[in-house]
């Protein structure tokens, strides 16, 4: 139950993010979640969108360097300690988190956390064992 995430290489300069957002918007793709990792002179924009292939096509056509990575979307109870309840068993099983970012679902009382694991399959196994629900790509796309 992995979700495809798009990553885009971006130089840190004024207006770059808005150009990319405009491009994605113009292609009729809706962004479900995003995070921006930045260093002093470049950044990596990561996007979860409702139509991965369409977004990829538009970005590549405009000459962007992009890649697709499998990530895992996990529903987290929107209450104190909700995230810890997921991280503790993962850490107990020695599963490494490369990075993660969260967003809150509109119509429910849950938050969704996007995880990039070092080993996504090991993570999925742990999550399944402890009974934590993982969202399918279709579900994420329609959130």
């Amino acid at each position: 139950m992995k979700v495809r995430q798009i990553s885009i290489f971006m130089e840190n300069r004024a207006g770059r993010l808005s150009e990319v957002m405009q491009l994605v918007g113009d292609s009729g793709v809706n962004i479900r979640a995003l995070s921006l990792a930045d260093t002093s002179d470049f950044g990596i924009l990561r996007l979860i969108v409702n139509d991965v292939d369409k977004a990829l096509g538009a970005l590549r056509k405009a000459g962007h360097t992009v890649s697709v990575t499998d990530v895992v979307a996990v529903e987290v109870p929107d209450r104190p300690g909700g995230l810890a309840g997921i991280l503790v068993p993962l850490s107990a099983d020695g599963v490494n988190v490369e990075y993660m970012y969260a967003f809150v679902e509109k119509a429910t009382d849950k938050a969704v956390v996007i995880f990039r694991f070092e080993d996504a399959d090991a993570a999925l196994k742990t999550l399944k064992t402890v009974g934590i629900s993982v969202l399918s790509a279709e579900t994420v796309a329609s959130l």
């Binding site: 995430q5 990553s7 290489f9 971006m10 130089e11 990792a37 260093t39 002179d41 470049f42 990596i44 990561r46 000459g63 962007h64 360097t65 992009v66 890649s67 990575t69 490369e98 990075y99 990039r116």
Partner: protein, 433 residues
């Protein structure tokens, strides 16, 4: 095929005698017909009669690029203007352009050596030559064009740019030989890939690449992406244009067409000839050129001359690929850095595109060397630490080769300007301050 077996495979002793005869004539023409040379010869106390054989060449004074500027536009011409049938000029980044003229006979010799170049890379009258060097004052386009016609090939005078049309005609006309700058060939391959056009399925077989410095690493990139044997060609407008020297299919040094363009290698600091096989500055004397009998012209290109015989059968000496210029050497914090060193390191790193830019600037009193490298999808990762590791790797490898710490900037694809002519690899902002 060897285009002009009589001269290209001439016995070396006989060649030397011919060169001596032609040198004697060139020195006399320069002295008698060009006041600039008469003055220069007189200042060195040398008279045409002192030049009896090839060995006497060391008595002659050097000519430098600035001499063209001082005599701008036509001061080096040795014939009346009515005998000049063509002029070319190289862009002067500072001041006036360098102007060269050709008589009808000069154009004929140029076409001949340019045809030899194409034959060196396997070209014959059966071939279709696409010339994607610029046509105009620049010698690249017309030089290869006349060479192609002399060879008997079918010439497509595309000139530079308009890549989509280049690719279309390459396909439709069945181009077998491509002549352009090495960086433009990669740009064509890139644009072909972006359009879903399989350039490997074209009939291309050889590419004649020159007009800008390039490296062995770039040759392997070109040969991987295009179905060509990448032939390094050499020429400069002051001497004639493309067709001064060319690699043969052995791809091991460039045969100098020395029955017309006599090469020497000197120590750039002392002006003395270097020992055989030693690296130094390349100097040319135009033995047969009527319009400008160019005497010992200092090219500023650094190379070596190989006197051993080539398996291809040509007896001419071979110059090594030009890997630097006496004037493109960057001095960074007192260390000599050649752009070719940087390119060699970059091309060895998997996934690095041949698109990079070297920026030299000053931060306070210190020189700063920045190298911008485009991040292709092969290099890209969604993880910051992997990109940082890549940057560190480029940094470490360059630092160990250059002995200077460069700043490495990863930049977006296509953010470095693509040039149709000579690729601009170095921006030295220190000059502007």
């Amino acid at each position: 095929m060897i285009f002009s077996e009589k001269y290209e495979c001439m016995d070396r002793k006989e060649l030397k005698r011919l060169q001596g005869e032609r040198l004697r004539d060139a020195a006399r023409r320069a002295y008698e017909n060009v006041p600039f040379y008469r003055k220069k010869f007189d200042e060195c106390g040398v008279k045409p009669e002192h030049i009896q054989s090839l060995d006497d060449i060391v008595k002659l004074p050097f000519t430098v690029k600035d001499d063209f500027r001082q005599t701008y536009p036509f001061g080096l011409f040795a014939v009346p203007q009515r005998e000049i049938v063509r002029v070319h000029a190289s862009s002067g980044t500072t001041g006036k352009p360098t102007v060269v003229g050709y008589t009808r006979e000069d154009i004929g010799i140029w076409a001949e050596t340019s045809a030899r170049t194409l034959a060196c890379g396997g070209g014959t009258a059966e071939d279709v030559l696409q010339v994607a060097y610029g046509y105009g004052l620049f010698t690249g386009g017309l030089g290869l064009h006349y060479g192609g016609e002399r060879l008997g090939a079918m010439v497509i005078p595309m000139s530079g740019g308009n890549s989509m049309k280049q690719l279309m005609l390459m396909q439709d006309f069945g181009t077998t030989l491509l002549a352009c700058t090495p960086s433009y060939s990669l740009q064509l391959a890139e644009e072909a890939a972006a359009e879903g056009f399989d350039i490997k399925k074209t009939k291309l077989k050889a590419g004649f690449f020159g007009a800008e410095p390039w490296t062995e690493a770039m040759r392997s990139q070109i040969e991987q992406r295009l179905p060509v044997k990448a032939i390094d060609i050499y020429g400069l407008s002051e001497v004639t244009g493309p067709g001064v020297a060319s690699e043969c299919l052995e791809q091991h040094g460039l045969h100098v067409f020395e029955d017309h363009y006599y090469p020497e290698v000197i120590n750039p600091s002392t002006g003395e000839p270097v020992a055989p096989g030693e690296r130094g500055e390349l100097v040319f004397t135009c033995l047969t050129k009527q319009a400008i009998p160019l005497i010992r012209y200092r090219t500023r290109d650094l190379t070596t001359l190989d006197e051993t015989l080539c398996p291809c059968g040509r007896t001419s000496r071979r110059m090594a690929r030009v890997t630097g210029r006496t004037d493109d050497m960057l001095i960074i914090r007192g260390v000599n850095v050649f752009p070719s060193q940087i390119e060699t390191v970059l091309m060895k790193i998997d996934g690095v595109e041949p698109h990079y830019l070297i920026v030299v600037d000053k931060s306070g009193v210190l020189d700063e060397l920045e190298i911008k490298v485009e991040v292709s999808e092969n290099l890209f990762s969604d993880e910051v630490k992997k990109l940082e590791a890549l940057r560190r790797r480029i940094f470490e490898e360059l630092r160990s080769v250059l002995s200077v710490s460069p700043k490495i900037s990863l930049v977006e694809p296509k953010s470095i300007e693509r040039s149709v002519g000579k690729a601009k690899r170095v921006i030295d902002r220190r000059d502007l301050k």
